[in-house]
């Protein structure tokens, strides 16, 4: 029997796409544009030099870049974005050592109902400071975040930075560090996914995706560990944490066999095999009840160390 897909109609992110360097330019390698066909087509016809447009800047500056308005000339696809109702975007460069593997771009449209947060934190003398962020309508939370810093090991950004591991926080309202907890709770932010974004120079950035119930970034999150230190020489990844609105917790209890995939085995396996993100809609291999997925590889210390995936 086919599983019913009960996708939320209002999601925080409208468009996800990724760009890969080819002949010195960033070219579109995949994306999920929903029904925004005009913007999809404009994207397919665009490429970016290093430093050009949003993805090009993320590459050149080697850090996540947030555009809170999508206007020319900074944003090359401004007309198409306007026609599609897209108003903000975040570009995340994914490096493997010195080499840029891809740039992940998410685009959102502002409205009073859309609550969520995509933040980039940078380490500064043992403290994590907000580099930039997009919060939709969660303005109070944005204000609080701008005036917050986390010591290494504390809160979601500090925890991710200290462990160099993606971390999934379940109940942000109660647990996202005492400073921001109250405001996060008020904004309806429930689940937080933090991932390290290593860059060629300096300390890694930490990207956090905070998801609210009404306009979730996703309803299923997974973290896969692909380090040699975890899975040995086999090119495999093991699911170490995850939460799903349909299936509940996805981690395996002690004593139960771990869930593993090999390179090329399914969509996570494709990330392992290619070292590139996967952005798919309606593809086979997406868990029952979900329609689209984004899976992002993290390259750290010379290996593909983790994969984080979210589904909606």
């Amino acid at each position: 029997m086919e599983t019913l897909i009960d996708t939320e109609t209002r999601t925080f992110i409208q468009v996800t796409e990724y760009w890969v360097p080819e002949d010195g330019k960033l070219k579109l390698a995949g994306g999920n544009y929903g029904d925004l066909e005009g913007f999809a087509s404009a994207s397919g016809q665009t490429s970016f030099e290093k430093g050009e447009g949003l993805p090009g800047r993320a590459w050149a500056e080697a850090r996540p870049v947030v555009f809170k308005s999508l206007t020319a000339p900074e944003f090359l696809r401004a007309d198409a974005a306007k026609a599609a109702g897209l108003t903000s975007a975040v570009a995340v460069p994914l490096f493997d050592g010195e080499t840029l593997k891809s740039v992940l771009v998410v685009l959102c449209s502002d409205s009073e109902e859309r609550i969520g947060a995509i933040e980039s934190w940078r380490a500064d003398d043992g403290l994590l400071m907000l580099d930039d962020g997009y919060y939709g309508a969660a303005r109070h939370f944005e204000f609080v975040s701008q005036h917050t810093h986390f010591p290494t090991g504390q809160g979601l950004p500090g925890g991710v930075f200290a462990a160099m591991t993606p971390i999934l926080m379940r109940d942000l309202g109660a647990s996202y560090a005492f400073v921001r907890a109250e405001s996060a709770g008020r904004a309806g932010l429930t689940t937080g996914l933090g991932l390290p974004i290593p860059v060629p120079t300096g300390a890694p950035y930490v990207l956090t995706l905070l998801s609210a119930r009404g306009t979730p970034i996703a309803r299923r999150f997974e973290i896969w560990d692909a380090r040699d230190a975890k899975v040995g020489k086999a090119n495999e990844a093991e699911l170490i944490d995850g939460i799903c609105a349909r299936d509940g917790p996805l981690w395996t209890a002690e004593g139960d066999p771990p869930r593993r995939v090999a390179a090329w085995q399914g969509l996570i396996g494709r990330v392992l095999g290619t070292g590139l993100p996967v952005v798919e809609k309606g593809a086979a291999g997406i868990p029952g009840g979900y329609d689209s997925m984004v899976a992002v590889p993290i390259h750290s210390k010379g290996e593909l160390s983790h994969i984080v995936a979210w589904y909606s």
């Binding site: 290494t152 591991t165 647990s175 230190a229 975890k230 090329w264």
Partner: protein
């Protein structure tokens, strides 16, 4: 129904209830007491709840629905006043409950160090969800936390509190952290990692007092140093909670003493989990508790079982700290260490070897091989052979592997996967996207892999690439639904257990049906007669209709009759006999076959014995055109007539057919002998195809010209005719002994490899054995079934009643 009372709803007793109610839901009427106001949850996952990485809801093992479904009367939050062993009653706060059997599973209590200030508000032990919630609440205000105890529990608490935004200091009495599980080197790396998380660590630090005015404010250490503390977590250890047992007069040492059936000194009272002591051991990790639970459930059901103490492995649940330790890694006489360090990556591994066995392993930073090492310790594997490379783990022992699926992933959509039906990869992935998520569904919707099946592996790989770990690669297929064994297993067991009858197979191999089904019976019948030709008698009821009738049934219900013509040679007498038979029995069609025989088509079933008898009189026997056995040996005319012939191909063909005829094989077997490489007998697409050359005979095998067109592969070249016959017989016997029923020779050779076949045939002793075994079998089966049936079983070919006659009267 007997009454079971359980005191304590922890992980051990929870597992007992699972086993018990799964095995026999009606065995006991169960009452479950718990001091906490909730049922069983996964206590070892409290640390992630503390850190915010999990929620309590995620770690609940048994919710109220679970208890309700098993009719467990839950009395949660109720204290036990006492146990009256005389009247076999548990006295609860809200009333007594009688028992036939009682389980004490009171777990453990945190050890509180007896220092001044230990009872101040703000001092919390770390044992259950209430403690965890108290810590979460305390951490919401931020500030400083001091964790006393640098063991597993203390460090998990410290990491959780840090993630929650507290400044945390760990105070530990010993020289290095987790001294019971780690050596100094690993303890050092762990400390370094924790300090990188902002956690301060004080080792060799003794707590003198907890000070504060009305609530905890600081921890005073030996040496008069004070550490500010808004929260103090006491995590120095646990001790078995034995008060109830002691009060009831049970034998208690450090824990409640139990025997290997988890029985206390009172035979109706059992104890399980952290509260017990067995053979001088106490238990704190979950694996032995689960073993105990299983044993106890068996004891309650009067089933024999015994608890044994096994090694356990330790892991720390602090995100970003990878450590593993197992076994005994203390230094000692006769012990040797193998150590590997990679300072840049923060990796340390140490193996402790005693004699030729691995006895302990400590790993920090890279724990990928932990489970493998743990297995070597538990199984006491001799490691002499891999000592040099042991520390590099199992991947090094077996060599590295490439990604086997990458080639399939790289196939374009229009790449053909199933040649029989012309199905390309895109069609299959589309079908998967539309819900065909296993092989059977792919076959049904696309026909891919539905014909010859040689592409099955490829189709399965496409499923793996597309679906990921949602698709479970089927392990070896059982013969049929009647059993769980593969053909290969059944063959092996028939030989090794000397199973010589169908009944023996059904019984000894655990058949789930009384006497098999239409799928397994023909296979088992063949395996038995091939392996035990003398002891086992062929069972016609386990054969397909064609083999039962010794003729091929046609679509109109009539049969075809094909007499054997040795090597395709015939003579005027035989041809006359065939012509007479065709006339006599009104045979509508007479056809020359591709295998150089004459086929009489359209013979009525009841005429079969008579036509066979007539053909027998002319010296002709069954051509076995219907059997999984030797069919035909096709020949060319060879040196007798042909200008190019190099050897007597016809003569060899006749000899081969006279040796091989009547034998049963896993599938049909066709032979060809060509007198020269021009190959007029088309020998290169036969199961055994011989090409005569000036120097002798080239023997090819594993050819076919059916659903698959397969060219023969060269088995060997021989010089003499007798050798050619010997090699052919040996090959057929090897096929008979090893192949899966209904695998043609080309499928079998593809599975075992031509090299393996060549080795066996080339070995003189093995070749002689194969020939002798074949001859023994042929002493039973080299006979004409037509003659036998025409003489003794003609009656069974007659219609049951002649209804036409009856109607006329």
């Amino acid at each position: 129904m007997k009454k079971l009372v359980v005191i304590g709803a922890g992980m051990a007793s929870g597992r007992v209830l699972e086993h018990l109610t799964d095995a026999d839901p009606d065995a006991y009427e169960i009452t479950l007491f718990n001091a906490e106001t909730r049922g069983n949850y996964n206590r070892i996952m409290l640390s992630p709840v503390l850190s915010g990485e999990k929620t309590y809801a995620e770690i609940v093992t048994h919710d109220s629905d679970w208890y309700a479904a098993r009719n467990v009367d839950c009395r949660f939050g109720e204290q036990i006043v006492g146990i009256d062993r005389e009247t076999k009653t548990v006295m609860g706060e809200h009333g007594p409950v009688p028992y036939d059997k009682l389980i004490i599973a009171t777990g453990s209590a945190p050890f509180i160090i007896p220092v001044p200030g230990k009872d101040l508000p703000g001092v919390i032990s770390y044992r259950d969800l209430d403690d965890t919630n108290a810590m979460i609440e305390a951490s919401a205000k931020g500030g400083n936390a001091v964790v006393i105890g640098g063991g597993l529990l203390g460090l998990e608490a410290a990491a959780g509190l840090a993630l929650r935004g507290m400044s945390v200091t760990v105070v530990h009495l010993n020289g290095h952290l987790m001294e019971r599980q780690l050596d100094e080197a690993a303890g050092y790396l762990l400390r370094k990692d924790l300090e990188a998380k902002g956690i301060s660590v004080r080792t060799q630090a003794t707590t003198r007092a907890i000070i504060g005015d009305g609530r905890a404010e600081a921890v005073l250490l030996e040496g008069d140093e004070t550490l500010p503390a808004d929260l103090v977590v006491m995590a120095v250890g646990i001790r078995p909670e034995t008060r109830l047992a002691t009060d009831a007069g049970l034998e208690v040492a450090r824990g409640i003493e139990v025997n290997a059936q988890m029985q206390t000194s009172d035979s109706d009272i059992y104890a399980v989990g952290e509260c017990v002591e067995f053979d001088g051991n106490l238990f704190g990790l979950v694996a032995p508790l689960y073993d105990q639970a299983k044993v106890l459930a068996h004891a309650l059901l009067d089933e024999a079982d015994a608890f044994v103490v096994k090694d356990v492995a330790t892991k720390l649940k602090v995100t970003g700290c990878d450590l593993f330790s197992a076994g005994d890694f203390a230094e000692g006489e006769g012990r040797e260490d193998i150590v590997f360090r990679d300072p840049a990556r923060g990796i340390y591994k140490r193996l402790v070897i005693e004699g030729d066995k691995l006895v302990g392993a400590v790993m920090y930073g890279d724990t990928a091989d932990g489970t493998w090492f743990f297995g070597l310790i538990k199984d006491e594997t001799e490691i002499d052979d891999m000592r040099e490379t042991l520390i590099f783990g199992p991947a090094f022992q077996g060599g590295d592997t490439a990604d086997p699926l990458s080639a399939v992933a790289a196939l374009p959509r229009d790449a053909e996967v199933c040649g029989c039906n012309g199905i390309c990869k895109g069609t299959i992935t589309d079908a998967i996207a539309n819900g065909a998520t296993d092989l059977a569904a792919i076959r049904a919707t696309t026909k891919a892999s539905a014909s010859c099946g040689t592409c099955t592996g490829l189709v399965e790989q496409v499923l793996q690439v597309t679906l990921g770990d949602e698709f479970v690669l089927p392990t070896a297929q059982p013969v049929c639904g009647c059993c769980d064994l593969t053909h290969e297993d059944v063959r092996r067991l028939i030989k090794s257990q000397e199973l010589k009858s169908q009944e023996a197979v059904w019984q000894e191999l655990g058949w789930k049906t009384r006497n098999g089904c239409h799928v397994c019976r023909p296979a088992i019948n063949f395996y038995l007669l091939a392996d035990w030709p003398v002891e086992y008698r062929d069972d016609p009821q386990s054969r397909f209709v064609n083999e039962r009738k010794h003729a091929n049934i046609q679509k109109d219900g009539t049969f075809s009759v094909v007499p054997r013509m040795w090597g395709g040679i015939t003579n005027p007498d035989e041809l006359r006999a065939i012509a007479d038979a065709a006339d006599k029995y009104n045979v509508p069609t007479v056809k020359v076959t591709g295998g150089q025989r004459i086929d009489l088509l359209g013979v009525k079933g009841e005429d079969l014995p008579a036509i066979w008898a007539d053909l027998n009189k002319a010296g002709m026997v069954s051509g076995h055109a219907y059997s999984k056995g030797l069919r035909t040996v096709k020949t060319c005319v060879g040196t007798d007539h042909c200008r190019f012939g190099t050897q007597d191909s016809t003569g060899l063909g006749i000899k081969l057919e006279q040796v091989l005829w009547g034998s049963w094989t896993p599938h049909k077997v066709k032979l060809g002998v060509s007198g020269c490489p021009r190959n007029c007998a088309e020998s290169t697409c036969k199961d055994v195809g011989i090409i005569c050359v000036d120097s002798g005979y080239q023997i090819g095998v594993a050819g076919a010209a059916g659903m698959d067109l397969m060219e023969t592969q060269r088995l060997c070249d021989v010089a003499t005719e007798q050798e050619a016959i010997d090699v052919t017989v040996a090959f057929v016997q090897l096929y008979r002994e090893n192949a899966k029923y209904l695998d043609r020779t080309y499928k079998w050779v593809a599975k075992v490899g031509l090299d393996w076949v060549q080795e066996r045939i080339a070995d003189p002793a093995e070749r002689a054995r194969l020939i002798a075994a074949f001859e023994l079998s042929q002493s039973i089966y080299r006979k004409d079934p037509w003659a036998e049936h025409a003489q003794t079983q003609a009656a069974q070919y007659q219609p049951l009643a002649d209804l036409t006659l009856e109607a006329a009267e």
